[in-house]
């Protein structure tokens, strides 16, 4: 039997040991937690204070900061207060399973004053460059391309001074003025000549001894020839009159057909308008969404590559048939904090679930469920990060039931600049998937209560006059939907934009411009008809009477010349010429 002198010191040692463990458990656990987490993550873990409940199942941690193993100058996560509820059964199996936890004042990626690497260096472990928003084509290029694609038929109907009727009318008016004056002058000259011839002939007849020096025979011949020429000219004028009528009619018909020519009313192509107006605005949104996705994906470190566990003596053999489970698992951690969502400051609450250092041994993927609220704005975000298999399968779903957005300018100053007025609302649905780095998914934005105003429009597209008419029409555009298909990789993604904004905008704008064109066409046809009628009237009331008058004058002269012809032979034959 063991003697008392054996027993007492052993009991004392045991009691002291138990007492030390019981009294100093909190600092011991704090030290153990820090050491184990540092070993697992490979970066500094700081805990200001740790307290346990009497049954050691609940932990209260004050000022927790876990440095980012990829960037020692940042904290992966820090929180003012963390309350952890441990699963006792798992503790017996040497697994730390946090059934539930609460946090307050959570901040992600907060900067550190001292490097968080275990060796004290501040150099980053990560070789990958940090994610940068993707930049696509500059808006000026989009604007230029939009202008380039405007169809030629978009030209307005020909200006009034370009009508061929007017040109024809002016040409013939000048012709008539000149020709009629010339004819009149010629007939007057013929008349005076005829008159002279007549007086000479009569004089010769009365006094044959004193014959006039003028050779009445040759003058007569000249006058006759002249009258015949004038007659011929008058006939030509009459022909010209007919030609003029025909030309006017042809020009009028030609101009009418020009005005009536079917014009392509699609001055604005829907797809091109969508590209011009929405590309930059939606690009910004998509960049932000992909950045969120990228952030979530990088927020969860890859235990295989990011963690740098401290070197351990030996190797831990995992028996697959023993159904191994993760050594560290947070089933639910409730998060509450503040951040920026959709360019707005918002408070958020939610949970991160199934976070583990050995995802391949767990039956659930890690997930984040967050609800951000700022004023009336409400965003629900679910991100699932499945790292259990050989490839990463991550999804991001964001639902934004109703978000009021600030006014913004769409398009580009040198082509078309449109203001999207404030108080328009947006409903967004985001569904992105990534398998390893391959990104796919779609984003739907539903805009409502929209007010659009065309601020600037390039002259090629109609300029300020067209903008004014378009503004009257696009006031009816109150809602539109944009669908974005995303592809490529997470770091280098591509997207395809589809929206009914362009179609609606183009339809309304083209309608307004088309109505305007019809009015202009009607007015111009009317004006053209007036010009034609006036020209015809002018021909009938001014030119034709003048031609008739000239013809009458010429006829009188011909009659007069015929009379003179009777006188001239007798006067010449009365006496022989004295030689």
């Amino acid at each position: 039997m063991m003697r008392l002198s054996y027993l007492i010191p052993r009991l004392i040692i045991l009691s002291l040991f138990v007492l030390a463990v019981w009294a100093g458990s909190d600092p011991l656990i704090q030290r153990a937690v820090i050491k184990n987490m540092e070993n697992a993550i490979g970066a500094k873990v700081e805990i200001a204070q740790l307290r346990t409940s009497s049954n050691k199942q609940k932990l209260f941690v004050k000022q927790l900061a876990i440095a980012d193993p990829r960037d020692p100058l940042k904290n992966m996560i820090q929180a003012d207060m963390v309350y952890l509820e441990l699963d006792p059964q798992s503790l017996l199996e040497r697994r730390i399973v946090i059934e539930n936890s609460q946090t307050s004042q959570v901040v992600f990626n907060a900067p550190r004053t001292k490097p968080g690497s275990l060796d004290g260096s501040s150099s980053s472990h990560s070789d990958q460059p940090s994610w940068q928003p993707k930049s696509f084509e500059p808006i000026e290029t989009l604007g230029r391309r939009w202008l380039d694609q405007l169809p030629i038929s978009n030209e307005l109907p020909p200006a009034q001074n370009h009508f061929s009727l007017l040109v024809t009318a002016k040409t013939y008016n000048d012709f008539w003025t000149k020709e009629l004056a010339s004819q009149k002058q010629s007939i007057s000259a013929l008349r005076s000549r005829t008159k002279k011839l007549k007086s000479v002939a009569e004089n010769n007849l009365q006094n044959p001894l004193r014959p006039n020096k003028l050779d009445s025979g040759s003058v007569f011949t000249e006058v006759t020839a002249k009258s015949q020429l004038l007659s011929k000219n008058l006939i030509e004028l009459e022909n010209a009159l007919l030609k003029h009528r025909t030309a006017l009619k042809a020009a009028y018909k030609n101009d009418l057909s020009k005005l009536s020519q079917p014009r392509d009313s699609a001055s604005f192509d829907g797809e091109a308008v969508t590209k011009l107006l929405l590309t930059k605005a939606e690009e910004k949104n998509i960049n932000e969404i992909v950045e969120w996705f990228h952030w979530f994906r990088s927020a969860l470190p890859d235990p295989h590559s990011d963690f740098r566990p401290s070197s351990e003596r030996g190797e831990n053999i995992v028996f697959q048939r023993a159904n191994p489970k993760p050594k560290f698992l947070i089933k639910t951690i409730n998060l509450a904090g503040e951040g920026r969502f959709a360019n707005r400051h918002a408070s958020f609450a939610g949970s991160a679930n199934h976070l583990t250092s050995q995802p391949e041994l767990h039956d659930q993927p890690a997930s984040f469920e967050l609800r951000a609220q700022g004023g009336e704005h409400h965003i629900i975000l679910t991100c699932v990060l499945d790292r259990r298999g050989d490839s990463w399968k991550d999804t991001l779903k964001i639902t934004c039931p109703d978000l009021e957005i600030d006014g913004q300018q769409l398009g580009e100053r040198n082509s078309m600049l449109v203001t999207l007025g404030p108080q328009s609302r947006i409903q967004a649905e985001v569904d992105l998937q990534a398998i390893d780095d391959q990104l796919s998914g779609n984003v739907i934005f539903r805009h409502s209560n929209v007010s659009l105003h065309v601020d600037q429009l390039n002259d090629l597209a109609g300029g300020s006059t067209a903008a004014l008419r378009m503004n009257q029409a696009i006031g009816n555009l109150k809602r539109f939907e944009t669908r974005v298909e995303i592809g490529g990789t997470v770091d280098d993604y591509t997207y395809k934009l589809e929206s009914d904004l362009g179609e609606q905008f183009a339809k309304l704008a083209n309608g307004a411009l088309s109505d305007d064109n019809e009015n202009t066409e009607r007015k111009r046809k009317l004006a053209l008809k007036q010009v034609y009628d006036r020209q015809i009237e002018k021909l009938e009331k001014e030119v034709i009477p003048q031609i008739r008058e000239l013809a009458q004058l010429l006829e009188d002269e011909v009659y007069e010349i015929a009379n003179i012809k009777d006188i001239i032979p007798s006067s010449n034959s009365r006496l022989p010429r004295i030689r």
Partner: protein
Amino acid sequence: MTIFRQIWEAFVTSVKGFDSPRQLALGLTLGMMIGLIPKDSLLPFGIGLFALLTNANLLTLLVSGLVFSSVGPLADPITHPLGHWVLTYAPFEPAWIWLCQVPVVPWTRFTNTVVMGSLVLGVASSIPVYALSAQLFHNYGNALLSLVFNNRVAKWLIGSSQPKTQEQIS
């Protein structure tokens, strides 16, 4: 005060040890096992508890534990492959799987190759070490005890009384 004095004397007596070479050898052997096994396992603490339940000499246990703890990592090149072989030896696998599922046992970290190798090495060498050290203590115990206790520090710590000799015990 009497009770505390009695307790202190009993403690000092236990540290001074009983002069049995077997008890000294047992302390040294258990200390060796504690020293060899990495301390982030529950096994050293279990062995320590077991040592407290025996009449092993606590001083030799303590000294042996400290010495082997410092030289333990030097044995990793032997203990790691040894533990790896034991843990991956197919006939033993069902036993390890079963042990994995027994509560508290995983805290021993027996699935670590160095822990398992150290345990196997400690257990395997315990009998030769025990026998050898018992013989050594038998032959040189008195001289060793005199060397240990006949100095000012020891006297100040545990008093001036000389430990019992082998003959006195027997």
